[in-house]
């Protein structure tokens, strides 16, 4: 019961997050719809439609009338980069496109102290908010008249500063003199007051916490700008990261995938054929294959590390296992999928068993095997990255894992993008190979 309660709490937290994100999601959807309206207007102006579908009266629900709109794809991708740039203050975008950034520059606020006798005095605090990493001194200010003396402080962007403004005053908290107002608005411990450059809060002990506005942009440590990621890419490609260049990291990952997949296919395809052609082999391997198939390869990582360590052998064993079952099942269903009339036709044309195998069963199973290979390559790529996240000397996954430990978010982001691009390219290559090598797929 306690578990259920906990889970409900977690679920509620997820819902709350969604609720907070809802305005942004709705905004995004509105942008999509707006772009659609704009584009259909432009298109109507540019080219009156004259293709065969222009005369269709029924398009909603007609599957053939729905194709991927290239313009939408381009706009969608461009928009991702624009949003990325806008919320990270990218220099690639003109300033007006930026989301409101953090406060930067000089600001000030006044605070009022009240003595036990009931006298009060006001002093000014000058604040300089400067970019992170720059060493900026607090400006020199004259102390001014009265009990309260002026102060100055320098704060890096996105940081806040607890400042004992009464330290230099003639009467401080030791004399029972307390800050009672900021910029003329009353303040008490635990409260805060909005000022021109952000917010001033008061701690429980009565110290002012100066919090310059952070705006809507993201701090580079959470989300670096596109150009930061790009320049990091150049740096890692030439200088390298953790003693290996980018090419080495990616090359090792790809090497593991290709070798693991090849070995898996080399064993898996004959295994699948045997299972498809012989009752005995089918019976023998069915329980093993059917059990191993639903085990996620990632779950094998600990065992593989125990047995083979974190070197290449362990990784390749893991990928071999990831590809093996997929390839075996693909080959098996490729063999069992052969139409009996094709086999009969071949026999009555005088083919021997071996010739049936060579000229009918193998070519007939190739489309299935290619589909399996595509799936297996995808799974292997995912598995290798995950395995490298756990433990590796080199590799794309290792690179982003180590980078995350040092909060080098730009490297993490770059790594994720590269991993995505490579995964996508693998899939595209496999599709292309399929088109060239088994053009008869789905035509039987």
């Amino acid at each position: 019961m306690e578990l259920l309660g906990n889970l409900w709490g977690e679920f509620w937290a997820v819902l709350t997050t969604l609720f907070v994100a809802a305005p942004y999601i709705i905004g995004y959807v509105l942008i999509i719809l707006l772009m659609m309206v704009i584009w259909s207007g432009i298109k109507r102006l540019l080219t009156p439609k004259h293709d065969y579908s222009s005369l269709k009266t029924v398009t909603f629900g007609d599957e053939s009338a729905v194709t991927s709109n290239t313009v939408a794809s381009v706009v969608s991708i461009v928009l991702i980069f624009i949003l990325w740039g806008a919320f990270t203050g990218s220099k690639l975008l003109p300033g007006f496109m930026h989301a409101p950034g953090p406060f930067k520059g000089e600001g000030s606020f006044e605070y009022t102290i009240t003595t036990p006798a009931g006298d009060s005095d006001t002093a000014t605090v000058s604040v300089v908010v400067h970019p992170t990493g720059e060493d900026v001194a607090a400006p020199q200010v004259a102390p001014g008249d009265g009990i309260a003396k002026n102060d100055a402080v320098a704060i890096p962007i996105y940081r806040s500063e607890l400042l004992r403004v009464d330290n230099n005053d003639e009467m401080g908290r030791d004399e029972e003199t307390f800050i009672t107002a900021v910029d003329g608005q009353a303040i008490a411990p635990g409260n805060s007051v909005d000022v021109s450059f952000g917010r001033v809060a008061m701690s429980d002990k009565g110290t002012l916490n100066i919090i310059p506005a952070t705006g809507m942009q993201m701090e580079p440590i959470w989300m670096p700008s596109p150009e930061a990621v790009w320049s990091r890419l150049g740096e890692i490609a030439t200088v390298g990261y953790r003693n290996s260049t980018l090419a080495e990291h990616l090359g090792y990952s790809l090497f593991r995938v290709i070798v693991g997949f090849m070995l898996g296919a080399l064993v898996g395809i004959p295994l699948g054929y045997a299972m498809g052609l012989s009752n005995w082999f089918r019976g023998w391997f069915d329980p093993i294959v059917e059990f191993m198939r639903p085990v996620p390869p990632l779950a094998l990582i600990p065992l593989v590390i125990i047995w083979a360590g974190i070197g290449e052998v362990g990784k390749i064993i893991l990928l071999f296992l990831a590809a093996l079952w997929i390839m075996a099942i693909a080959a098996r269903s490729g063999v069992s999928g052969v139409r009996i009339s094709k086999v009969h036709a071949a026999y009555s044309l005088g083919a021997s068993k071996w010739q049936i195998m060579r000229y009918v069963i193998i070519p007939n199973s190739l489309p299935e095997i290619f589909t399996g290979a595509r799936v297996a390559m995808g799974v292997c790529w995912g598995t290798v990255v995950a395995a490298e996240l756990v433990a590796a000397e080199k590799g794309a996954g290792m690179m982003i894992m180590v980078a995350s430990k040092f909060q080098s978010t730009d490297i993490v982001l770059m790594g994720i993008i590269l991993i995505g691009i490579i995964g996508f390219s693998i899939d595209m290559l496999m599709r292309q190979a399929e088109k060239w090598l088994v053009p008869w797929k789905g035509k039987g």
Binding site: S341, K342, H344, A345, S348, P363
Partner: protein
């Protein structure tokens, strides 16, 4: 002894639930070399089973099949088969499909190419030689299937509803082609069909089979195939005897269907 002898052929299938089905019982036939036999009958009369046994894909529970004096015991190149559809090899071009039989025998390339070229001329597909079979229409695919079968020089050609999946017009053209090939090559042909007209047009001999157990019900010897060779088949259909026989056979099959329905209603 030449020709194809089917002697007291019986076939019983044991079902998983313990019962069994008598698909064929004491079917006997004597086909002379070069005869064209068409086989008609309601569904479940065992005509495809009969063909599969003759092809050697099934072993009968009793009876024998003898071709040119030797007993049939399995599939072989001497008995070619043409299927309804989907039996072409889509990973091969038209040329490779037609040349499949000769290739399996290890025939030299030039000799094979000659045979293939000749047959593609005969079925009118010379222009489609290098095309993939899935690029052809249904009728063209069946032409390829016929040519592929002929390329292997079988003694007997078994046709399992070869024109069943074609549209009416294509079907008429293909019926003419089958007659032409039969006359030119002099092959023994067994043709299974659902169409009474087709059976009458193409069958020099025609058997009507009856179900439960599958057996030969009536046998005809018909003049229409001879009349139809090289002629307009529509003219043949106008022959008074054609219509008369058609009605007779239709009535016969109708009664069988009725009986099956009745029996299953009783049960």
């Amino acid at each position: 002894m030449s020709g194809l002898q089917i002697d007291k052929l019986s076939m019983r299938f044991d079902l998983p639930n313990g019962s069994s089905v008598q698909a064929l019982k004491d079917v006997s036939l004597d086909l002379k070399a070069g005869e064209l036999l068409s086989v008609l009958g309601p569904s479940g009369c065992g005509k495809t089973t009969l063909l599969n046994i003759v092809a050697g894909f099934l072993a009968p529970t009793a009876g024998t099949i003898t071709l040119n004096g030797h007993k049939v015991s399995g599939p072989a190149a001497e008995r070619g088969m043409v299927f309804q559809q989907g039996a072409l090899f889509e990973w091969m071009s038209v040329r490779e499909n037609v040349g499949f039989g000769p290739s399996m025998k290890g025939m030299p390339k030039e000799e094979k190419a000659k045979i293939v070229d000749h047959l593609l001329d005969v079925v009118g597909l010379q222009d489609f030689k290098e095309k993939a079979v899935y690029e052809l229409s249904g009728g063209m695919q069946q032409r390829v299937a016929l040519a592929r079968c002929l390329a292997n020089e079988p003694d007997v050609i078994l046709m399992d509803e070869p024109l069943g999946a074609l549209d009416a017009l294509t079907r008429e053209k293909m019926q003419g082609l089958v007659l032409k090939l039969w006359k030119e090559t002099g092959k023994t042909i067994i043709l299974i069909t659902h169409s009474v007209e087709e059976a009458l047009l193409l069958g020099e001999r025609l058997i009507v089979m009856a179900p439960r157990p599958g057996r030969i019900h009536t046998e005809y010897r018909l003049p229409f195939a001879e009349m139809g060779v090289g002629q307009d088949l529509r003219e043949v259909k106008k022959h008074p005897k054609f219509a008369e026989t058609r009605e007779e056979i239709l009535g016969m099959i109708w009664d069988m269907e009725e009986e099956i329905m009745g029996r299953s209603e009783d049960a």
